[in-house]
């Protein structure tokens, strides 16, 4: 049997849709077959809340009188993009002032969401149509025109596990890694993770409506570094970081419950982004996909002190047990993305759908297939 988006949306509008979180459906799948699940369940909700460095926001400041064509822009002393005319900017989450590295673009974004005042200073060369050369002003969420989150690469499908085999501590975006394999960190939310519940992106594409930082958002494109030809395990899931999504949403409606600035020691600034993707159970294949359990999801363990050398593979069931056994070593594990928030996001999205407040949208354009990655060749080295 199969269902259409329209049929599922009709049920959502009537308040009769059966919605489960990805954890609940995985539990149910221990006793029900994919066929029975396809019959019974209409939507499965997923969630993740992790640091996603490739994030940011477009902001339009409004024009001053006389107007300025901003070519260099600073917000609270952090330089942001001056490459968009005339009063638009893009705040990259990792933008920062090297003199004050612990406050950066992500903190500006969080301050904007919180309605805090931000000092703007901008310079332009002065043109016939934009005569002003310098401006100082105070902006906040209410004074700016648009504030639009746009993240080019989020929600990695199955990120790797990080550990450190060297004899010194290393500070990474995967957290503090202790020497001698004394810890390993993982950032994917396992069976709750959005792109692991629809691994081939059958229902995720341009236009898919999602939960984004507390409000509705949309998938706008494949994320950058979209790799759709990675090695698969026996359950058809990539065994290392594969697909990603680009997302968009109204920053003014977001909540810092699901968006938080982060600073990693000796690494820099990043942004915790909360994403939840609803998966419509259109047929048995999708029912089978969402039923995936932590013990069936394999990922790769890399030594971050040794050019990300592959040490071995493990599963999310082992990772979440607190200890993995890789390459003959027992290594203590901890998550570095919030599993409790991921769960909360899946629950909230479920409640929105159950209440008829959130309808599903079919992708306008599917994700690309057969993609792999180019690497960058450095010039003039070793001369």
């Amino acid at each position: 049997m199969s269902k259409t988006y329209e049929e599922i949306n009709d049920k959502i509008k009537k308040g009769t849709a059966v919605v489960l979180t990805a954890e609940e459906v995985s539990e149910l799948a221990k006793t029900l077959s994919p066929k029975e699940i396809a019959h019974k369940v209409d939507v499965v909700t997923t969630g993740t809340f992790g640091a996603m460095c490739s994030s940011g926001a477009f902001v339009n400041f409004g024009h001053s009188n006389p107007p300025i064509r901003m070519e260099r822009i600073e917000l609270n002393g952090v330089q942001v993009s001056g490459g968009l005319a005339a009063v638009d900017t893009y705040i990259g989450a990792t933008d920062c002032n090297p003199a004050r590295p612990a406050y950066g673009g992500a903190h500006l974004i969080e301050d904007l969401v919180n309605g805090k005042d931000i000092r703007l200073e901008a310079w332009g060369k002065g043109t016939d149509c934009y005569p002003r050369k310098h401006i100082e002003a105070v902006i906040n969420r209410n004074t700016v025109n648009e504030a639009i989150m746009y993240n080019p690469r989020n929600s990695y499908q199955n990120y790797n596990v990080a550990t450190n085999g060297s004899d010194r501590i290393i500070y990474t975006y995967m957290g503090t890694l202790l020497p001698g394999f004394r810890n390993a960190s993982y950032s994917t939310s396992g069976e709750l993770s959005p792109l692991l519940n629809d691994p081939e992106c059958r229902t995720i594409g341009l236009g898919t409506r999602i939960f984004l930082c507390g409000t509705e958002g949309y998938v706008t494109w494949n994320g950058t570094q979209f790799h759709s030809t990675k090695e698969l395990n026996g359950y058809g899931l990539p065994v290392s970081n594969a697909r990603t999504i680009a997302v968009i949403g109204n920053l003014k409606e977001m909540s810092t419950e699901f968006l938080r600035a982060a600073y990693y020691e000796k690494y820099g600034v990043s942004l915790f982004v909360g994403i939840g993707v609803p998966i419509p159970i259109l047929d048995e294949d999708l029912a089978h996909r969402v039923s995936i359990r932590n013990e069936q999801i394999t990922t790769s363990v890399l030594d971050y002190s040794d050019s990300s050398r592959l040490l071995g593979r493990t599963t999310y069931a082992d990772l979440q047990s607190g200890e993995i056994n890789v390459a003959g070593k027992k290594i203590r594990t901890s998550p570095v993305s919030s599993i409790s928030k991921a769960r909360e996001i899946a629950e909230i999205l479920k409640a929105w759908i159950e209440k008829g407040q959130f309808l599903l949208s079919a992708p306008v354009k599917p994700m690309p297939v057969g993609t792999s990655l180019n690497s960058l060749k450095a010039e003039n080295e070793n001369k």
């Binding site: 809340f49 503090t176 600073y263 915790f272 607190g322 998550p335 409790s340």
Partner: protein, 137 residues
């Protein structure tokens, strides 16, 4: 020199006469500022110890060997639970097991008794929620 310490007694160490031993064996003057001990239960003493550095060191070693957890005051770790997102970064760095994050609820737990004041959590929390503070109440 005079220094303040919090002595935490596990169940089996409470009935030993620490004060007496410290004075007799190590010539340390001990001033009990606050006591919360019941015989047969674990408890805490807030003490001020006065002696020269070498005596202090030996006395503290003795206390530790007796199963007492000794933490220098002004060296208590705490974090802002309100703002915590339960990401796990601090627990990942905490090798003493004081900070843990586990199934089923995946919420951060802090067991101060296991904290060895290594300060790694201060560096590792991406939200910078940890601080060292006085534990005197």
């Amino acid at each position: 020199m005079t220094k303040k310490y919090i002595l935490t007694f596990p169940v089996d160490a409470t009935d030993r006469s620490v004060t007496y031993e410290l004075i007799k064996k190590f010539d340390i003057r001990i001033n009990i500022l606050k006591a919360e001990i019941e015989i047969g239960k674990s408890g805490q003493l807030l003490v001020e110890l006065e002696a020269n550095e070498e005596q202090l060191e030996r006395g503290i070693k003795y206390l530790k060997e007796s199963g007492i957890i000794v933490s220098a005051l002004a060296n208590k770790i705490s974090h802002d639970e309100e703002k915590c997102i339960n990401c796990g970064n601090c627990a990942s760095a905490c090798f003493s097991g004081a900070l843990t994050i586990k199934a089923p609820d995946w919420k951060l737990k802090f067991d101060p008794a296991k904290c060895i004041i290594c300060k790694l959590c201060l560096k590792s929390c991406p939200l910078k929620l940890f601080k060292i503070e006085f534990a005197e109440q």
